[in-house]
Each structure stands twice: as C-alpha cells, then as structure tokens.
Subunit: 250 residues, 4 copies
C-alpha cells in the first residue's frame, strides 16, 4: 500500500508569512507543512507527499488534486475564516467519499472540522510552553502501534477540556499538562466513507513536529486513514425498488 | 420534572397546506404536529406542549421561544430548503447549550440535522406502505423503557441502509421492512451539552403517530432529552490561567 | 422515583476490621460503607439506603435482598478473592436483569467487575496522597449534572492509564494527578439490561467520600443506574416461531 | 504483512463426528474448519493457515501454539461445555495480549466469548433455512472493504435480537431474515490489546462458508484483527514511581 499513497499536507501558512512568532523561521524553516511532510517521508519513502498552502490557487485543493489524494493533513490557525466555503464543501464531499483527513492542533477550529463534527470544537488553552504527556488509552488501535506511552513533549501549548466534540469513534490518546489540565488529544471519527483523525500536539511556538514520536503518530494516522482502493463517492439518497438486491448488489 | 417541561412540536406543515397526499386531512386533521402533540399530552399532562410551523413568524422559533423550550421535536420534508439559515444557527446554538432535539422521519434531511451530524444523512427509501418491525437492541436505555419488542407498524414508508450518519452514541432500535431492508431507526447523539434523538417511523401517508407504541417512544425520548435545570449556554473557547481551578470551578 | 429507591452500599469492610491504615477509624468512623451511605441520604431522603459487608451472612447479598435492590454500590480492596463465586454469579445475573451497579475505586479488581467487563481491569497506581483533578468531558450526561468542573480532591491515591477496560459506553470524567498521570475516572457500561458506573476517586487513606462533589457524583450515578420499574429478568435464549410477533410482543 | 500471518481455524468438530445433520459430510467434506481455511487461502496465499479441533490434545491450543498464532477463528456449538476452563483462560490471556479472535455463528455461546464480553450472549433463533440479507452500516470499516451490500445468503439459520452483547466498538453489519427479525451480525470489540470480530452467518446446515462474500468478510476480519508485530503481553497492574516516564517509556 505504501508505495501508492498520495499524501497532501495542507498548511494555512500565515504564521510563516507574517513571521509570528519571530522564531518560526528557525524552528520551521520549510514551514509547518514542510516539517510535517519531512517527518512522514522516512515512514513512506515511496509515497507521493506534497504540500499546499492557503495562498495557492484554490488553496491548492482543486478538484483534480483531491481526486488524487488519499490522505489530507490540515494545519490552520490565524486564517480559518479566509478558507473558501466552496473549497470546504469540496473537501467535505471528498471526506464523505472516502478521503482520509488528519486535522492537527489549532485545526480544531477549521471550517472543515466543525462542519464534519457539528459542534463548536471549542476548548480551553494557555500558551506557556508546558510539558505535555500523551498517554495511550487504546493500545489495540493501529494509530497507537509502536508509540511510547507516554509521549513526553517538553514544551507545548496547553489544550484543555471541555473539548466540545461529539463522542469520538475511538479515543486513543489523552494528554495531561503541567498545569493539571487534561485533553482528549488523539481521537478518530468516521463520516460517510471517510476516516478522520484529530491529533492536538503541534504548535507554531515549539518544534513539536520534529519529535520522532509525534512523527510516528502521524505516520500511523496516515496509514489508518488511507483507503486507496475505495471508489471515491459520497453516500447518496436513492429510491430502492422492492427486491432490487436479488439481481445486483451495490 | 414532568410538570415543568416545555415541549415544542415543530412541523414544516407543507403537506397539510397543499393537501398532499389527499387523505392527509383525514389521518391528521390537526396536522402532523397536532397528532404528535396529542400523543404526548397523556404522558405529560402538566407539561406546556405547543406547536409551530414553517409559516409562523420566524418559523415559530424566535430566540425568546427557544430560551423557554426544553425539548424541540422536528418534522419536515418538502420544504427543508425554505428554513432560514439564521434560524438554523439559532436552533443549533440552543442544542449545543442543552436544549433537547427530537428529529423525526424525513427530518433526516433537515438543515439542523445535517448541520449537527456533519454527514449527508442520505438513505434508501421506497414508499409502498410496507410493514415495519422496530426491534429494541439496547433494552437498558431510558428510551426503550416499556416499549414493545418489536413494535409492529402495519404500513410505513421504507427507510433503508446505508443511513449516512456518524456512529450514534446509542443505537436503540433497528427496523426491518417487509421488502428485506434494515434501518437504524432509533439513535441518539450528543452535541455540546445537548441531547438528540432521531426516530424514523412516521410518514405523511400513514397515521403512524397515532400508534400507542410510537407515542410511548416519543414520550420516552422527550424525558431523556430534557435538561430543564441546565444553564443554557453553549461551550465556548476560553483562555485558562494556570491553576485557575484552585479558587473557583466552572 | 426517589422515594421508592432501594440502595444497598456494599463494602468489603476489611480495612476497617484490621485497622489498616491506623487512621481509618478516624476518617471513616462508620466504615467506608457508612460514609458512602451518609453521603447519599441528603440526596435521597426517602430512599431505603442500607449497608452490607463481606462478613455478613451471604455477604449481605442474599437472593431476596438483591431482588429488592435497585442499585448496588461496591467497595472492595484487600479481600476480593474471598467473595464467593456463587454470590458473584448471583450479582451478575441481577445486573444483567437490570439492577444498577456502581463500582468504586479499588473495586476495579472485584470479581463482579472483571466478570462483567471481560478484561484484566489492571492499572497503574501510586499511593502518595496526590492532588487529583476530575474533569468533565461529557457535560450532557446525567451523571455530570451540577458537578464542578474540575472537582479538586486535595489528596488521593493515583490511578493511572493504561486502565484495561473495554471502551465504555460513556466517558464522563477524566482525572489528572499531580505526578502527571491521567485516568478515565468516570465511565459507564451496560450489560444485559443493567447499567454500570465506575468511579475511581475514594481511597481508604483519605476522606474522599466526605467531599460534597464526590457525593454529588455518586448520587447522580444512583439516579442514572436505577430502573425500579423494570421487570428483573436477564436476557435468555429463545426459539422464535416464524411470525410470533404478529399476535404478541415481548 | 500477508506472508507472515499465522492463522488458526478452530472448530469443535462435533457435528462432523456425529454426522448431525446427516448431510454435513456432503456440504463440508473437510469439516467446517476445513471449509473456513479453504476460503481464506486464496486471500492469504503465503500465510500459515492451520486447523484444530476439540478432540486434539489440549484442543490444539497449547501455549506454544497460541504464541505463534496471530488470529484464531472459533466455531463451536454442541460442545461448548467440554472446552477446558484452563484453556479458555489461556486463550483469554492471549487475546488480552494482542492475539486476534474471530468468533463465528454459534460461537456466541463459547466460553471464551462470554468471558470476554461479560454478558449472556443469548439471542433468538429459528432453523428453517431462511434467506438472510447482510447489510453494511459502516462502509468506512476495513472489514466492509469490497463487500457486497447486501450479501444475499439464500438459506441460513435465523439469529435475532435481542442479542445480549455489550455495545460493540463498531457495528459493521446488520442482517434481516425472511421472517422479519434483525440481528447485529458483524460487530467488533477490543479487550486489552486484542481485537475481536464476531460474524454470525455460517451454520452446520447450509454451506455458507463457501459463499465468496462470506469468505471475503472473514479474510477482511483476519487482516483487521492481526497484529503480528505486537509484543504479546496482557496489560498488568503496576506501581508507578512519581516521574518514572522522565527517563523511560513503556
């Protein structure tokens, strides 16, 4: 499967463009998207791993691109509101049709995420560079395979409960922070035929995407979310004649 | 709790207005909303049970009305597109804040339902008045309390899988139809602080809302969804100073 | 409902009998069961709240007692192995038949709990009297009603992940500890027609059952788990003639 | 992964031994286990697929065999009670440690299944060779990949609700029968580190295991349940010194 995978890493790219924080160019010289892609490559040496940013034409998410994308990773923060509604609809349709989606950190407020989940996706936060511990609570899940328990992240923005999401299909990771808060930091959802993974570690302030264990989680997430052999079509309403299944199946 | 409950039955009311099907006035002389409300009254003799339709000002769903509503029941079919987006946003906010919502039958395509669920909510259908059997698969759930297993509905529109919804919090009822299809006909979701129950039996063609067992299910659903003592406020993002909980709690 | 409730608080009672820890008589002069029962009484002034211990005849869990019990609370630790297998079978049958069960703290290793869950129910622990924060992650659940978020427990034994339980029906509370561990501290399960709630705070070393918020959680748990109107019978295999439901329902 | 897989098909083998039904030798000349194994081979040409029966020494489930088994399939019916409790304990330990387990049809009453699930696993049944339709309700799940929706099985024993199981992790298939009953026929559970799949079609009366779609489901189930790279160890209780994770991870 690995060789055929087509992975697209999307990043808003605004923090990098405005140099906020000022050291972002040091910790992420190729942008957050560049760092995420670089972390995936050793895990998928034969995959087609590309990146795109908000400023690209159609945000780099044209129909013909999505058709050829098995898994889309999404990082955004400052410019959620600037993402085109039409493109959000398009991504939504592809997810329902079976494209994998991995939403990262501040992507919790991305239009595509709140649209898929139906809730506010709000949370508590504090950006003081606290130690985060990421604990595995579902060791049988493919995304937990080979992952340290806990992952120790020395400095990271705090995300705390209440995280206003629907009950996830699977709760894989729970984080604690030095300040005492907890967060459901690794959760999966399915919508239509698509698989969605949200993973919270990874801020613009700290080089979290260089952490080998975080890279391992994202690589596992890609493998879990990808359905390269699936017919890409969202579920549709249909009028079913009585006994239709006797001669065919769909 | 019963005496205080404020229950609002919303119906699009279009089938009744256009006399489609022609016998709708016979089976539902007070409209579908009237029949649903009438079925609830014996179960909640002291409750405040009101009805509203699409043609009412603000669809009968003004802010001051929703503030005073514990549970909203929703029936729609022909005119989903005519429901105001602003009012859908308002209902959505109230659900996240804790208002109960019961979505009925063809309401699966209501804007408020697809917005809360994030999927297409599509399904297979056939309107030939088939026998539906509603089987209980979670007998421990409050909504199944005292309900026949199965409920036998002599004639009903067929709704069949794939029902494109997220995994429900609880799957309570599964229906089979004479033609062989199955359907997850009674499912719950939570979004924010709100509780949502979807129940599929109940078409404009057949007097299903007069069925005592269907009335029992809806009464149970109301009881389960209501949170009259809850502070009505949707979850919100907040910046949490370190150790904030040491002096207060929220 | 409250007036009719029959609540039975079961405690192994061994720590009290052997005075271990030496100060247990000071913090729990009426035993852990006495403290739990005392905490429930203001919430259910008309309920029939009784206690029982391992040393009682049939552990205080005779068939005729269980028949008259709506909710059983269970605290055990040192003497799990001394609980009679026959009585565990009896309790198990009553849970499947609809009796509510609330398992507390070190009861995670009780025979009845591992039998109902099917896993090892093992966990990590450390008894150094650390601060525990109990965070609500499902605010729509009846057991979270009116509960502080977080509950601050100044000193408590640490219970940490991996907590080897099946995926719960509902995850209501997640705790963090001063040492950085997290724990799914409030979870529900259903088995047969019965409702089960596990809540981890509450050790023999610290007077946690005197905490008003812990008392509130247990009171909510009792209300949620009780099904006083249910026919107490466990699901059974049955041979179903074709069309049996046309003349009757069960 | 496929080449390394070690798959063991266990069958009680009693129906075959006593020739009940008399035509079992015609429909399953190599036994039910032989048919299941034969159905898997085209899907896993390089796997090590073996069979075992109750009459084998240690039921063919010695410790050294289980250590080398990635996925165990289980078919039993007449002789559940004759399975050694000690061997059930052993299989249980291996499942918690990560061995995949696929339980088939009348295996719902196998000791290993009820022990893992904690419920009675009872159901309704009728053996009149009715048509079963197996509908996919979670198309995003790996076990549903490439499977007809519905699968049409011309003749099969009816299994109906209430199926007394815990809420599954994933509900993949729901069946309907000509007589109107429904059944959650394809469900997954996780216990400890192990993955469990139950699939109900497949009786001793009808050659259901020769159905290409049933074979496809079982092949998918094996792939989903297998964790060949996992350290085989069940979760265990442990005393965790404060800050233990700062120097190591486990």
């Amino acid at each position: 499967m690995d060789g055929k995978l087509r992975i697209r890493v999307w990043n808003e790219g605004r923090h990098e463009a405005v140099n906020e924080p000022p050291h972002i160019g040091e910790i992420y010289p190729d942008g957050i998207h560049g760092a995420i892609a670089a972390g995936l490559r050793p895990h998928y040496p034969e995959a087609d791993i590309t990146t795109a940013v908000l400023a690209d034409e159609e945000h780099g998410l044209a129909e013909e691109v999505l058709v050829e994308t098995d898994v889309l990773l999404w990082w955004g923060h400052m410019a959620h509101a600037e993402v085109s509604d039409a493109i959000v609809e398009r991504v939504h349709r592809h997810v329902l049709g079976g494209m994998g989606l991995i939403v990262l950190h501040s992507g919790h407020f991305a239009k595509i995420f709140t649209k898929l989940l139906g809730t506010s996706c709000s949370l508590a936060w504090r950006n003081e560079g606290e130690r985060e511990l990421v604990w595995t609570v579902k060791p049988s899940h493919p995304i937990a395979e080979g992952v340290d328990n806990p992952i120790v992240i020395p400095e990271q923005e705090m995300y705390g409960e209440l995280f206003d999401i629907p009950d996830p299909d699977d709760l894989i990771f729970i984080s604690s922070f030095a300040g005492g808060e907890v967060f459901r930091s690794g959760v999966t959802f399915t919508r239509g035929k698509g698989r969605i993974f949200y993973f919270s570690p990874g801020d613009q302030e700290d080089p979290v995407y260089d952490h080998p264990q975080v890279q391992r989680v994202l690589a596992n997430g890609v493998k879990w979310a990808a359905q390269p052999d699936l017919d890409r079509s969202a579920p549709e309403v249909r009028n079913a004649p009585r006994g239709w299944y006797e001669t065919s199946a769909m």
